[in-house]
């Protein structure tokens, strides 16, 4: 029987009621007295020198409060990058300035040139149209390889060239990898592109800045996955506001997928302008604006080589990647193609030698940063495509080739620095073979062929690294922040509990899942526990939600804080029961003396903590509130095996996903319903990447797919029902819950399965196509089949 409460149960989500009744509190739902509106005048050119900005006529227009340009931000800090990469020569990456509003140059379509603050949005927009901007257009740098040629136009005049860094990992393995490839019995080579994507959470970004002169305090409401990180970056690096004078609140946030991790210029602007104008300043992004101002994702061009011996064992892997940074370094941009990518290239396999070389390149495009998976989908796509291609070249079963090369003993130290604590890749593959009914594929293919359709089958594995940590290690790798998290458990006098967590829920259901853990530990009803998140004035500290870290890192902090609560409560109970601390047991919300029928209820103990008349005041303080910070000992390593079946119309090239199955190992699971939902959503996005989505630039740096009319978001009729299974479970060995993280797996594991299936379908029709770039749109597929 499934559990009906506590860890492992799937209670209905408590946050749903407000979302289903229109009573959620998203940032754009918040309006404050005296509020003004800002409209950003953005560059419509990809690259140019700003010769002059004349705001005089605009400033005189109706409703205009003030117009800001880059000149107002001279002397104010720029938007910082949170991760410094050291290059192959031991030098720090080239790190350009990133002003809040453009100074001197515009570097991508969407770069903000001026900001009009006015009484209404309409007046702000009208005035922005009256600003006269004289820009001398420069050649746009769009293609990464062209950007690195000698004499290429520079995106940043003060840098040596457009190369942010060249990174090699593990540099000491480079020669050995090359040697192994040279001497291999077989080498499979693949050149591929991981297409540029736009994260597109359904809620566009919003920022509302306020300033209170009476106490010199700034407050920013923003659509963020990590309000404390924004407070730190904006306060310390951009505006020079100390933490106690700055509150950042991220209320209900309508999806993030990575793109709401980063600190954006608009947040700093609204906070700055609220003080400068002494009025609240609100910005609400339009979707069109989001396409040219939200950080994009992916955009890697890669050559990958897999060496095999005569027995089809993998002997070496080499990956050479160009990674697009866009025009500026977004918050975690530099870490994505390096530490979040290179360390995953051993994947699920025993490949003894791995080397990756990454050239990160500045171009006149929107900055690129983490999007669901961030580096890990790129690594997975490369490895799983090249493994599949190798199987086809060698004429062996792709599942058998994978199984033959699986890592089977744990812990396993990879040749790319990380150590997998647990996993069982054969177990997830076994599950997959069942839920995907792989045995039935031949019959389904025959049915498709009867209709004149081609049918393809694709499989892949993935390994994830979640809960990036520990802080002292990531610090050595260049992170400019710690990657712990924190939780405060506040037990009230009557026994109810508020848990302040540093993680932020923007769809993940923390308000439901986190109380399941605390309720299980204490043995009280979940309804007694509320989660507080998203407000730096209420939550002590936290690094936020990304990298599938919430439960593995913040949940661990919550467990530790709850353990402290239980320890103290046992001391109080021991006093009340006149017994020794060590004899007290807690079960189902009752403290009892072992071996006796003496007990006291949770609520009596908590009341005693706050009304300490009969209380061990000489030993412990009154009250019942504890905080814990948790810094993980290692990453967690979820893994799985995915399968996709497509039907391909040879007349049109249209690919339809007929079946999709996912078998994951997430370690222990707190709420299976929420976990499945996370996988479903990730698969939807992965199918979108594989078949539909593409942020396409023309040679002038114009974004061609800059609205939902042009950028193909997956819709309900683009996807099937998914079969998901997470019963294969090897618990994480180093966090208290044994959990691994499930938020990104679906997006990481699905694109290669889809493309492997498309290739299989094309080959089944007699077309000798060995690769197709994503998205495998009808026109691309049709062209490929034409040869």
């Amino acid at each position: 029987m499934p559990k009906d409460h506590g860890i492992g149960a799937s209670p209905k989500r408590r946050e749903d009621v407000r979302f289903l009744t229109g009573t959620g509190n998203y940032t754009d739902d918040i309006n404050v007295y005296g509020q003004t509106y800002v409209y950003f005048l953005r560059s419509d050119m990809a690259h140019g020198n700003i010769k002059n900005i004349d705001t005089a006529a605009a400033a005189a227009m109706s409703g205009v409060v003030r117009i800001f340009t880059g000149a107002d931000f001279e002397g104010v800090g720029g938007i910082p990058c949170g991760w410094q990469i050291t290059d192959v020569h031991g030098e720090p990456m080239q790190e350009p300035a990133h002003p809040v509003l453009a100074i001197g140059k515009v570097r991508h379509v969407g770069d903000p040139i001026a900001a009009v603050v006015a009484e209404s949005l309409e007046e702000a927009r009208n005035a922005a149209e009256a600003i006269e901007v004289d820009i001398e257009e420069l050649p746009a740098v769009v293609d990464m390889k062209a950007a690195l040629e000698d004499g290429a136009t520079k995106v940043h005049d003060d840098l040596a060239n457009n190369l942010c860094y060249e990174w090699g990992f593990v540099e000491d393995n480079r020669a050995a990898v090359d040697e192994a490839i040279k001497n291999a019995a077989h080498v499979t080579t693949l050149e591929l592109r991981n297409n540029r994507l736009v994260a597109n959470p359904m809620e566009p970004r919003v920022a509302l800045g306020q300033y209170n002169r009476a106490d010199d305090h700034s407050t920013l409401h923003t659509t963020s996955q990590n309000p404390h990180v924004i407070r730190l970056l904006m306060g310390a690096f951009v505006l020079g506001i100390p933490e106690h004078k700055l509150t950042v609140i991220a209320p209900d946030v309508g999806g993030g997928f990575g793109t709401k991790i980063f600190h954006y210029a608009e947040e700093a602007f609204c906070t700055f302008a609220a003080k400068a104008c002494n009025r609240p300043v609100k910005w609400t992004s339009s979707r069109s604006e989001a396409f040219i101002s939200d950080a994009h994702g992916r955009d890697h061009v890669t050559k990958i080589e897999l060496a095999l011996d005569a027995d089809n064992n993998f002997t070496a892997l080499r990956c050479d990647t160009y990674a697009n940074m866009g025009a500026y370094l977004s918050t975690f941009a530099s870490s994505v193609p390096t530490w979040l990518h290179g360390t995953l290239l051993a994947a699920n396999y025993k490949t003894p030698l791995v080397y990756t070389n990454v050239k990160a390149v500045f171009t006149n495009t929107v900055p690129v940063d983490a999007y669901r998976g961030a580096g890990r989908p790129e690594a997975t796509f490369q490895v799983e495509r090249v493994v599949d291609k190798a199987a086809r070249e060698l004429g062996v079963d792709p599942i058998a080739l994978r199984r033959q090369n699986f890592i089977t003993e744990f812990p396993y130290a990879t040749p790319v620095a990380v150590e997998y604590d647990t996993g069982d890749y054969n177990a997830t593959m076994d599950k997959l073979e069942v839920i995907a009914d792989i045995a039935g594929f031949k019959a389904r293919r025959a049915e498709s062929e009867k209709k004149g359709m081609l049918r393809g089958f694709g499989v892949n594995c993935y390994i994830e690294a979640c809960g990036i940590a520990p802080s002292n290690l990531v610090g050595q790798l260049g992170a400019r922040a710690g990657l712990y998290d924190a939780a405060t458990v506040r037990v009230n006098a009557t026994g109810s509990i508020s848990v302040m967590v540093g993680a932020h829920s923007h769809g993940q259901g923390h308000e439901t899942a986190f109380p399941q853990v605390v309720a299980e530990m204490i043995g009280i009803d979940e309804s007694q526990i509320d989660i507080v998140h998203g407000d730096t004035s209420k939550v002590p500290f936290g690094m936020g939600t990304y990298g599938s870290r919430s439960l593995a890192v913040c949940g661990s902090a919550m467990v530790r804080a709850t353990e402290k609560i239980i320890n103290k409560a046992k001391k109080i109970a021991a006093h009340l029961l006149e017994a020794a601390d060590s004899d007290i047991e807690l079960k189902d919300g009752q403290f009892s003396v072992a071996g006796t029928d003496k007990s006291v209820a949770w609520g009596d103990v908590t009341l005693a903590a706050y009304v300490p008349h009969n209380y061990p005041l000489e030993d412990i303080e009154p009250g019942l509130e504890e905080t814990a910070f948790y810094d993980p000992a290692n990453f967690t390593y979820p893994s799985g095996a995915y399968c996709c079946e497509v039907e391909l119309d040879p007349e049109t090239g249209k690919v339809t996903v007929e079946r999709f199955s996912a078998a994951d190992d997430f370690g222990n699971i707190v709420n299976p319903m929420i976990v499945s939902g996370q996988v479903h959503g990730g698969i939807g996005q992965g199918i979108g990447q594989a078949l539909l989505e593409n942020a396409a630039y023309d040679e002038n740096g114009q974004l061609l797919s800059a609205s939902y009319m042009d950028y193909a978001m997956p819709r309900a009729d683009d996807v099937p029902f998914y079969a998901v299974d997470h019963s294969a479970c090897t618990p994480c060995t180093h966090n208290p819950l044994g959990v691994k993280g499930c938020g990104e797996a679906g997006a990481i594991g699905s694109p290669p399965a889809v493309i492997n299936a498309v290739i299989d379908a094309m080959q089944s029709g007699g077309h000798n196509v060995t690769h197709i770039d994503m998205p495998a749109s009808p026109s691309r597929v049709w062209e490929a089949m034409k040869g």
Binding site: S10, K12, R13, E15, D16, V17, R18, F19, L20, T21, G22, T23, G24, Y26, D28, D29, N31, N200, P201, M202, E203, P204, V253, G254, G255, F257, S286, R287, S288, H506, G507, Q508, G509, P672, M673, I674, V675, S676, G677, H680, G681, G682, I683, G684, Q685, I687, S707, Y708, M709, M713, P714, R715, A716, D717, V719, F721, Y722, A723, V724, G746
Partner: protein, 161 residues
């Protein structure tokens, strides 16, 4: 400015609006009914679906002045008179048909309009009908399942979680 009178969620409202005020702006800014969301500017996402005279309409595609005299329903009116969740809302909660919640009001309003015209839609009919509602969180699995359940269909053979 034009004076408009309409019935919104059962209450008559009269307001002066500009000719270019969109229905979404009227609901959100004038009436403070912020359950109707704006997720795009090309009438593609469907987060703003409302009912106007019983028909599902994207609120961003009509001016408030065009709704003069109309009966308008928004997500704020979809619960039962006793305050409990309506059948579709309850099915969305029961089957985890929402995550971040931003597309949800539009999904519920679209589903309601679908079920009025087609009380037992097939999976394919639901997916086809939702073509104008984008969700980025759920991969649509549990949304389609919730709508099938709301229409009284057995969904137990669709992967349980």
């Amino acid at each position: 400015m034009t004076e408009v009178t309409m019935v919104v969620n059962g209450k008559s409202v009269t307001k002066s609006v500009k000719g270019n005020t969109l229905m979404t702006e009227f609901l959100r800014d004038e009436l403070r009914l912020t359950g109707t969301h704006v997720g795009c500017d090309t009438s593609q996402c469907g987060a703003c679906v409302i009912h106007v005279n019983g028909e599902a309409v994207k609120g961003c595609t009509m001016f408030a002045a065009e709704a003069s005299g109309a009966e308008v329903k928004t997500i704020e009116s979809m619960e039962n008179p006793d305050g409990s969740l309506g059948v579709i809302q309850q099915a969305f909660q029961d089957h985890h048909g929402l995550q971040c919640g931003f597309c949800t009001p539009g999904m519920v309003m679209s589903a309601s309009a679908l079920l009025k015209d087609n009380p037992k839609p097939s999976e394919a009919e639901i997916r086809d009908y939702l073509e104008g509602n984008i969700c980025r969180c759920t991969g649509y699995h549990n949304i389609v399942k919730a709508i099938m359940a709301a229409s009284g269909q057995d969904v137990s053979n669709i992967a349980a979680e």
